[in-house]
């Protein structure tokens, strides 16, 4: 089956030559939830931004839905790919409903029945319908993140790139968001998600990519990637994955 997202030898460096990402290759298929994990500064967000087309990629290639990414127009790309940023920002006081409606810009149907239905469904899926008339800027950080998730889902992307979507949420909402991503994957979406919480990564991801100092250290099932040796190497912690509870238990740290 053709992967929805495929990248070969993707590398990123700054203008002054500092390497942010060493050559990384990956594939994400429809129906999969793939997690990107790693310590702070490992290159997780850089990789996601490179795949989303935000970060310039000096070398390597990306294919989206079987097509070379550079051959797609910006609007075509927006209809395939949804990007959930780490820190949602909005520069004007807008209603939640209007923020979510921005996902339909590339379809041009914000005020047409299809667009309105997609916006309502996305608000319902994230339990944010009751907030639809509220000012986005007055919401808590967690609520803002859920609205942004609704905004991405309203665009009905085939591939979702999410940068730490659970970072500002309480445990109940963390699980709610991850369950939602799993549901979307079951419906055919491909999900690539950056996570800091290793237990969430173990529980909800089909595969994991472990980044370390801008390079891919390990790739595979959570059980294979979250080995004690990898955790020691990447995070400098003495920890073990309990496969029954999907919990990563730290024994000591230094």
């Amino acid at each position: 089956m053709t992967p929805l997202l495929s990248a070969q030898d993707l590398s990123v460096h700054t203008a002054d030559g500092q390497v942010l990402l060493k050559p990384v290759s990956l594939q994400v298929h429809s129906g999969e939830v793939v997690g990107i994990i790693g310590a702070n500064g490992a290159g997780k967000s850089t990789l996601l931004k490179a795949l989303a087309g935000i970060q310039p990629v000096p070398s390597g290639s990306i294919q989206l839905a079987g097509q070379e990414a550079p051959t797609l127009s910006s609007l075509q790309r927006a209809q395939i790919l949804g990007y959930l940023e780490q820190r949602p920002q909005l520069h004007w006081p807008m209603q939640v409903q209007q923020v979510v409606a921005l996902a339909r810009l590339s379809f041009g149907d914000r005020e047409l029945p299809d667009g309105i239905a997609a916006i309502a469904a996305a608000l319902a899926a994230t339990s944010m319908t009751a907030f639809s008339q509220r000012d986005f800027l007055q919401l808590s950080e967690g609520e803002k993140l859920l609205v942004n998730l609704a905004r991405v889902l309203a665009g009905a992307p085939r591939l979702l790139l999410a940068d730490e979507p659970t970072a500002a949420l309480d445990p109940a909402h963390q699980h709610r968001v991850m369950q939602l991503l799993r549901q979307r994957a079951a419906a055919g979406m491909a999900v690539l998600v950056v996570l800091h919480d290793l237990t969430l990564a173990a529980r909800y991801c089909d595969r994991l990519l472990l980044l370390h100092k801008g390079a891919l250290l390990a790739e595979g099932t959570p059980a294979a990637v979250l080995s004690s040796a990898n955790l020691q190497h990447a995070f400098h912690i003495d920890a073990v994955l309990d496969t029954a509870s999907h919990a990563v238990m730290i024994r000591t740290s230094h």
């Binding site: 910006s74 920002q89 004007w92 921005l102 810009l105």
Partner: protein, 324 residues
């Protein structure tokens, strides 16, 4: 069309008729129109078509151009304090317009004057975009704009002082404060193509401005990367501000007040705000120009004096609101 927007257009139509009816010499508009219809020459007809009509048309066009440019700049820079005159865009346009006008270059071709003003405005917007990347806060950008305004205003005075035309310096008030009085139909025709191109370019960026509400990165993933629209916005603002300044000087605060007053009516959607700012700007400049003609005094006030009297306290209010 929404009732509020329709109401705004009705207001513009009413103010435009009021502007046509205003003036130092009392003429009968119906008689002037009848003279025009019967093709008979009369003083009333000349006053209506050669004096009041260009003034009313310029007030309409300049207001729309400045307000839409303000709305576009605020959306582009994601800064509610941005406007062509607060950031020195209008004054940069005035500087280049003064240079070509008073040193004789405007005689080379009809488009040299508005083109020079356009280049001045474009250079200022480019500079501001560079500064936006380096200056973190909205207030810092405004301070940079104030510095640019002071510099270009000083250079304009300097250029007028050194111009070969001995009367050039007397026109410093026109370039600093702006006015649509004593303009001719030739000036309307001069500016019209630039207004047309500028407004069309800005309106073509409506969705990009909406997407930019979420920041540059997210706008790119929504299908509207700023890199594809940046030049359209810069040239659009430059055309509108350049043409407005070339024919009416630097009328201040229109680009600041109008988007702010209208923003709540469009639920802060920058694309929709751009549409609404067109009639909103026309209404403000027409109203201000009607007022300057009716205020008591031996000499008519410069239009820009009145917009500054309205705009400066408004700007202070916005600053205080931002701080809180």
């Amino acid at each position: 069309m929404k009732p509020a927007l329709l109401g705004l257009y009705v207001l513009v139509a009413g103010l435009w008729l009021l502007e046509l009816a205003s003036g130092a010499s009392g003429i009968n508009l119906a008689a002037a129109l009848a003279d025009w219809w019967h093709n008979s020459a009369s003083v009333a007809r000349i006053i209506l078509f050669e004096v009041r009509l260009p003034r009313a048309l310029l007030a309409l066009l300049v207001g729309a151009a400045l307000a839409s440019s303000g709305a576009a700049l605020q959306g582009l820079l994601r800064n509610p304090l941005a406007s062509p005159d607060m950031l020195g865009v209008s004054q940069s346009a005035a500087l280049l317009a003064v240079c070509v006008l008073y040193f004789g270059y405007s005689r080379l071709a009809w488009f040299v004057l508005p083109l020079a003003a356009l280049c001045g405005a474009a250079l200022a917007v480019l500079l501001l975009l560079q500064l936006t990347r380096r200056l973190a806060s909205a207030q810092a950008l405004i301070l940079a704009g104030i510095a640019l305004t002071a510099l270009t205003s000083a250079l304009t005075t300097f250029a007028l002082d050194y111009a070969p035309n001995p009367y050039a310096l007397q026109e410093v008030y026109f370039w600093m404060l702006g006015s649509v009085a004593n303009r001719s139909n030739a000036e309307v025709l001069l500016a019209l193509p630039f207004f047309g191109v500028g407004t069309a370019l800005l309106l073509s960026c409506r969705r990009c401005l909406d997407a930019l509400s979420l920041g540059e990165d997210t706008a790119a993933t929504l299908g509207y990367p700023l890199s594809q629209y940046r030049w359209r916005l810069i040239v659009g603002v430059a055309c509108n501000v350049g043409a407005a300044v070339a024919v009416s000087g630097s009328i201040g605060f229109v680009g600041l007040i109008v988007p702010h007053v209208l923003r709540p009516l469009v639920q802060s959607q920058p694309g929709r705000l751009l549409w609404w700012s067109l009639p909103g700007g026309s209404a403000l400049v027409l109203l201000a120009d009607v007022l300057v003609q009716h205020l008591p005094g031996t000499q008519e006030l410069q239009l820009g004096v009145l917009t500054a009297l309205l705009g400066a306290p408004f700007f202070l209010y916005l600053l205080l609101k931002q701080r809180s």
